[in-house]
Symmetry: C2
Subunit: 100 residues, 2 copies
């Protein structure tokens, strides 16, 4: 397979917003929805819909609870999500290295 | 700006197929359409439409000529395309580094 084969990159992760989400979640234990939203510079609706896609792929876990009377949504990578992230990184780095 | 801000990544370059094209073109002086198609694992129609998008952004130059009686299409990065590629790489690497 060519290093430049676009189908080698996991499309669930590659979209810019989801890539930002996966990268940030890879760097923390868990993030609140509000924190994630600020980090990746997204709107509520846009972030929600992309989180659903990542959750459906089994890459993130979304836990809704309450902090006092305030709802709190927390998001974290799952073990398969972390594996998919590392696989994605490997392939992306292979592509970037081949370009040099 | 957060390292995870998805809007920092050039959307013209980021799409998987266009990313493969830009990465391959960054590694060569010019490529034929047939060579590019094999490297990025695309169909004719899909590659054509994405090349048009890159050409409209001024990132690639497409030159059509003949080799004997056979039409030959060659594609190369432009100077602005190379600059956009290097800027994209910087931001992508910043995001990946921040994830570790």
């Amino acid at each position: 397979m060519s290093a430049f084969d676009h189908t080698a990159l996991d499309d669930v992760i590659h979209g810019r917003l989801r890539l930002g989400v996966m990268a940030y979640l890879a760097s923390v234990t868990a993030a609140s929805f509000a924190d994630l939203k600020a980090k990746v510079n997204a709107t509520d609706g846009n972030l929600s819909s992309h989180l659903t896609k990542l959750e459906e792929a089994g890459y993130v876990r979304i836990v809704k609870s309450f902090q006092g009377k305030k709802p709190l949504t927390q998001v974290a990578l799952t073990a398969p999500g972390r594996k998919a992230w590392l696989d994605y990184l490997d392939r992306l780095r292979g592509l970037l290295d081949a370009a040099e």
